[in-house]
Structure formats: structure tokens, C-alpha cells
Amino acid sequence: MNSLTDNAIMLRVKDGDLDKMGLLFERYHRQLYGFLFHMTYHREVSEDMVQQVFYKMLRYRQTFTGSGQFIHWMYSIARNVLKDQGKRKQLQMQAGNAEQLADQLPGGITPEEQLEKKEARTGLYRAMEKLSDDHREILTLSRFQELKHQEIAQILNISEVAVKTRAHRALRELKNIYINAER
């Protein structure tokens, strides 16, 4: 079953074999959670959103045409869920939330390493929180989700050149915030 492509599986779901969505869930729920986590820095909210994304993919399975990649479709739905959530609840990231989370995550091997990594991580989260949604989104997609610029262009529905420009600006902004905070 693993040899089946995402698109082939999703097309089966579309044809009514709803159980196949379980395979896609196994393949992508962690990645999706990672994306939503960086966009909200809220674990429970991210988990709820993972649920919503999979529900929407089931509910609107007829809109999947198979002409594009499954994950691009998945990310566009995830972005819509984020947008809805933002509108409805006025989801504001609480200051310091990301920082606290950084503390909870596992670190390096030796105590020194752990401390060093924790500091780097805390600084980075603090800086990421200060970015605009657009900038945080593009960095999350390209760095944490390891997507190519061309894929990001399809997900965001903008040109590849626009992706490169935005990615550059986002990274520059992140660097400035990060360095200024260190001083």
C-alpha cells in the first residue's frame, strides 16, 4: 500500500473509499501539525486544526482533482483553516508562549549543549513570534517543512519570483530581530 502515491490514495477517497484517508493521516499529520504549530505556537489549537483540516479534506473531497499534488491541496486547506480561526477567535499569540514551549522541547546530549541549544531555540522562537504572519509562514514552509520555492509558489498561489523575494525579506527580518535581541 505504501507504493501508492498520495494522489492515487486521495482519488480513492474521492471515489468513496473513505477509510483510505487513514493512510494519508499517517503520512502527513505530523508535518501538518508542525506547520500549524509554527503558525500558532499553541499545541492544543494546532491539534484541533489538524482535525479540522482532515475533516475538510473528507467533506470537500470532490474538489480534489488530482491535477496538482495532494500536499499542496492539503496546505491550502490548512491555510484556510488558519484564516477562519484567526477571524473567529481573533487568535492572538500570547507573548512568551513560544518561549515557554521552547523550554519544554528536548535538547542536546550534554548539559552544556542542552543549554546552548535551549538558548538558541528560545531566541529563535522569540524572534519568530515577532514576524508577520506572511513572513513566518514562508519561513515555516521553506525551512521547517522543507518545501521548494516552486512548491511554495503553488501553495500560496503566487509567482516563484515573489516567493524568493518574500523568503529573502522574511529571513532578513528574522535575522535582524534575532541579532538585536542578542545584543
Partner: protein, 271 residues
């Protein structure tokens, strides 16, 4: 000013997505521009820090919730698949709200009764009144029938028995009711439900199709209880046509000895 043209390549350089030509072009510029070198190095540094950061793992709850959501969704889709099936299922769900239906039933009867009274005392003359009364009676009859049919679909055996017992209130059983009862007689998994169905059908034995159905049902019953009960009914109805299926039943190897004896007796009494 010139540097801005190259900035477009920065993201690709860091991401490792530049073509060899683009890379060459940027490298050339970097050799001569300390500002861009520094900028790019700083960006690379933060890019590397980002590699250290991983999002946490979702909790195990996510999988449980997903499975629950999928199951619920599948059920809701199946509900929509066939309208008729959906209606039947909803009806049977309604039955599970015990107090409401009998209440609704009583209310409906009350309303119809009030309607009858109103018609009787306030309107029209003989023929018209009779006509309306007949209509109302047939409506009540229909209502009972629908209730009975819905009850037969209920997952609980005791509810199905209740449904079967309603037939005694239906004076003119039509084909739909008879078919439903015969289907229950032959297919219901619960022997008690089948026994009460047999009882109900015996009361309707003045219908030719009921008799026919009962006779056909003889060979389909595999429980000794049902086999001897049906023999009693046939004896009561003095149905000679049942002899043939009974003889067939006797040929079955695993037939209960007690039942065998009873059927033999029945056959002699019928002939």
C-alpha cells in the same frame, strides 16, 4: 544599489536551489562586496539555528480523535446514501426516545378524534360527513400501520414484538403489512419475535396470501420451537395444503425427535 539585484538570489542560495549559472553570478558578486557577504553569512547562521528547532510531536490524542471523526463522518455519509434507508434509520432512532412517540401517537389520535367530533357536530350532511369520517378513519389506520412497520425495523427485539402486536389493532391488513410480517416470520434473528409474528399472522389467516405465506414458511423454520408452533397453527386452521411441506420437513436429518413426532401427529389429523 547594485546589490539589490542579487538579493533575489539569497533565498535560493541558502535553500540550495540555485542553478550553477545563478550561483556563479552570485559568487562573482560576493567576492567584491563585503556587505553582501556579511549579510548572507548572518542569514546562513540563522538558517542553521532553525535546523535545530523542531516542532513538538502531536499527542496520541490526535490519532484517536481522527479515527472517531472518520467513523462519524462515514456514518453520516451512509445515512445520506439512500434516502429511504435514512428515513427508516431516523424513525428507528426516534423510537429509542421512548416517551415521545407514544405521546405523539396519543396526541395524533386525540387530534383526529377532535377533528371527528368537530365534523360530526358542526358540519355538513350525511353523505359528506360519512366521507370525511371514512377519510379520517383511514388516516388513523395508516398511522398505525406506519408505526408498526417502523417498529419492525427496530434493533431491539422487544420493540419489534411491540410492533407485531400492533397488527391486532389493524383491521384491514394490506399487502405491505402482510409482506412485512411474513418477512419478519422468516428472517428475524430472534425466535420470540418470530413466535409473536406467527401469532399475529394466525389472526389474519382469513387472507389468502397469509395462508400461502405460512405454508411456505414451514420449510424455512429451523428452530424446533417454531416448527411445532407452526404445526399447531396449521392444525387449528385445518390447512391440508401444509401436509406436503411437513413431509418435506420430516426428511431433514437433524430434525428434533419431539418435533418429528408432533408433525407426524399433525399430518394424521389433517388427512
Amino acid at each position: 544599489m547594485k546589490c539589490e539585484q542579487y538579493e533575489e538570489l539569497f533565498a535560493g542560495w541558502i535553500n540550495g536551489e540555485l542553478t550553477p549559472a545563478e550561483r556563479e553570478k552570485l559568487d562573482q558578486h560576493l567576492i567584491g562586496c563585503a556587505g553582501c557577504r556579511e549579510e548572507l553569512a548572518a542569514m546562513q547562521q540563522i538558517w542553521d539555528v532553525m535546523a535545530e528547532v523542531k516542532a513538538p510531536e502531536p499527542s496520541a490524542n490526535v490519532r484517536v480523535k481522527f479515527q472517531a471523526m472518520l467513523d462519524t463522518y462515514k456514518e453520516s455519509v451512509q445515512d445520506q446514501k439512500s434516502n429511504w434507508d435514512g428515513i427508516k434509520e431516523q424513525l428507528s432512532r426516534l423510537w429509542q426516545w421512548q416517551p415521545r412517540w407514544p405521546l405523539a401517537y396519543s396526541l395524533a389520535i386525540l387530534l383526529i378524534g377532535l377533528g371527528c367530533g368537530y365534523l360530526f357536530f358542526h358540519t355538513g350532511k350525511g353523505a359528506e360527513q360519512d366521507q370525511q369520517l371514512k377519510e379520517l378513519t383511514s388516516q388513523v389506520h395508516e398511522l398505525k400501520q406506519t408505526m408498526m412497520l417502523a417498529l419492525l425495523e427496530n434493533p431491539s427485539a422487544s420493540e419489534r414484538i411491540r410492533g407485531v402486536s400492533y397488527t391486532s389493532e389493524i383491521k384491514h391488513a394490506d399487502k405491505e403489512v402482510i409482506d412485512a410480517l411474513l418477512a419478519t416470520l422468516n428472517n428475524d434473528p430472534n425466535v420470540n419475535v418470530r413466535l409473536s409474528t406467527l401469532d399475529a399472522l394466525t389472526h389474519l389467516a382469513n387472507h389468502q396470501e397469509v395462508r400461502q405465506g405460512l405454508i411456505q414458511s414451514i420449510v424455512q423454520q429451523d428452530s424446533p420451537l417454531m416448527q411445532s408452533a407452526i404445526a399447531d397453527v396449521m392444525l387449528k386452521l385445518q390447512e391440508k395444503r401444509s401436509v406436503k411441506p411437513f413431509k418435506e420437513l420430516l426428511k431433514q436429518k437433524n430434525l428434533d425427535p419431539g418435533v418429528k413426532e408432533k408433525i407426524n401427529q399433525t399430518i394424521t389429523q389433517l388427512i
